[in-house]
Symmetry: C2
DNA sequence: TTGAATTACTAAATCGTTTTAGCAAAAATA
DNA sequence: TATTTTTGCTAAAACGATTTAGTAATTCAA
């Protein structure tokens, strides 16, 4: 029950495996293999159910037709949708994807990059965790194509696809202001990542442009591995009546924060949008069916994934493009629902 | 800038690559390589940043340390969480995972299985779509380990991990009955899959055991690729006042159905649980923050994933176990929230 | 009719490992 | 001292493909 190899077909027909290889790679014409033999090879290869050994091919050609993907957590629908799109677009061109969840942990991502290197992947799509600059720099200097998604490191010259986070947060905050909110908080994570940083900067700028002073105490920065409790604590500080930080609106920088936040707000017996208005980044199902459906900054996840694969494959196929770095910044859209009042 | 190979290290030290291979595989003792040389090899391998070429290893040893995963859709949090667990457990033992989303499409899954075969994966974890019996049977007869998850085909002898869907649906339905509901509907998909079939059977049995006649018109079976509209239509038929199918509770067999269902119910201006009670399979975030948090059948996703990997790796390491088929059926738990009244 | 060109193929090297078989020198034994 | 055993290592085959360089047989041109 061993798998059939090129050689098996060759022996079966009394020809060389060179010939078989030529024919099966569609190079029969090019190498002047007779029609007759071509047909026989094809027939026998079908008869013996020949499946090329991609590992052997990979060793010989140096191309594995595999790309390595590192994201924070495939269980998070944000990355799930992104991963799905990447898998799908890659499959279109005959590429497989090895998925890795880094949990925003640079040590894990280091190990994963090493593993992917050893696996001889043809390219990387990475959403790099904080403190992984060195790994990314090293990769970017190598000669294997690399595309960063969702975030990047400003000081590293490297392809990346992101959204205009500043603009998105600016518009989201502005929306809250237009809806009459005066005191707006921002709950966020990990300010060391550019994307999060830009969100908070956009929020601040919107306030300033409306002549509102930015109060640092209204910006709650939670550790990445935040528990429900921590969000609850932050929310509590921002919404309780006699807190001096009492606000009338919150901008959540991620949906994980937002979902936990809504839970906390409900638990405190407060109503959205009457007691507090909210806007959140990302657009999970949860926001469509909760008490008041949430106004969100929707990211073009499919486009991010698709573009990342296209740029990556472009570079894989034309390594000479390697010098041309592509920095793509996509637009988000603000989906207005009921969580900011009307 | 070429990668360093075993041979590079060998040349660098003036020894054979055989020796280098022995040392780096920790077989220095076994093959009586002198301490001194061992140290040098290790040092040079570190100095040249040697990374083993897993492709070459794979070709030589026939083991790629890679497992192939086929699920319906990685963007669906149900499979996202499952996939995450599988990735994590596999990584613990040095295995990589190639992810494939089949969209419940047997033609896609066929292609994906073929791709994974060519990639020489060491084992498969598959959530097989309907009409993929032949593919699965063929795989099961081969000598590459295989574990099915979430569903299986009763007529195919093969490892599988599922939950007790019959029991889960039975208990969920019973809960609705205990909460005083008299007329209970079931909205489901794809009855051809055992898991879905068992859910509906559990639902029916619970009704019968309570002396309630099963009405086929209250069981709505939607196509897999159901749109929001179709769910809306089913819901509408079940909840509108003068419909002869008017019910006071619905059991949703998947969370995708449930989420769409809740949206439809809200759109009709009805209140959960006052106008209609609901229970759903699966436990997405959405159910925690919606108008009335939803009572759910929670599946032990982490355990399913972990067990699947353990059984698979067990078989990979001890191919003699191949004959011993493992059928694991895990328990679900019913998480009671507010959607059934109190 | 000879030399060149074309046709239809094949041998062998190669990719980077692992692993079997074996070899020379030193040490131990008789 | 001669033989055996042990020590410390290496050569070479193998995995399954691709690809370069070539070759024998035929056809063509002059």
């Amino acid at each position: 029950m061993k798998k059939t190899s090129l050689n098996d077909i060759a022996l079966h027909l009394g020809v060389s495996k060179t010939l078989v290889s030529f024919v099966l790679n569609g190079k029969g014409k090019e190498f002047r293999i007779s029609e007759e033999i071509c047909k026989k090879v094809l027939a026998v290869s079908k008869e013996l159910n020949y499946q090329p050994n991609r590992i052997a091919q990979g060793l010989r050609t140096g191309k594995t037709n595999t790309i390595g993907l590192i994201i924070a957590d495939i269980a998070n629908p944000f990355f799930g949708i992104l991963g799905r799109e990447i898998e799908q677009e890659a499959a279109k061109f005959g590429y497989r994807v090895i998925f890795c969840s880094s949990d925003e942990n640079p040590e894990k991502s280091r190990q994963q990059i090493e593993m992917l290197q050893q696996s001889q992947v043809d390219g990387y799509i990475i959403s790099p965790p904080k403190d992984s600059e060195d790994q990314i720099r090293a990769l970017a200097l190598g000669n294997v194509p690399l595309v960063l998604i969702d975030r990047y490191f400003p000081e590293i010259e490297c392809n990346h696809i992101t959204v205009d986070n500043f603009d998105a947060a600016y518009r989201a905050t502005n929306h809250l202001l237009r809806m009459g909110r005066k005191r707006i908080a921002n709950i966020t994570v990990n300010l060391d990542l550019v994307n999060m940083h830009q969100r908070t900067e956009g929020y601040k700028q919107a306030l300033r442009d409306s002549g509102i002073r930015v109060e640092e105490s209204l910006i709650k920065v939670l550790p990445f591995s935040h528990e429900n409790k921590e969000v609850a604590k932050a929310v509590k500080d921002l919404v309780t009546k006699n807190s001096q930080n009492k606000v009338d609106a919150i901008l959540f920088s991620t949906s994980k924060l937002g979902i936990n936040g809504i839970e906390s707000i409900s638990a405190l017996g407060l109503k959205i949008p009457d007691d507090i208005a909210i806007v959140s980044f990302d657009n999970p199902d949860a926001y469509k069916i909760c008490v008041s459906p949430v106004t969100v900054v929707n990211q073009p996840l499919k486009e991010i994934g698709k573009t990342a694969v296209q740029i990556l494959l472009g570079e894989i196929k034309h390594p000479d493009n390697h010098a041309k770095i592509q920095k793509v910044i996509l637009k988000t859209d603000l989906i207005i629902r009921k969580s900011c009042g009307s």
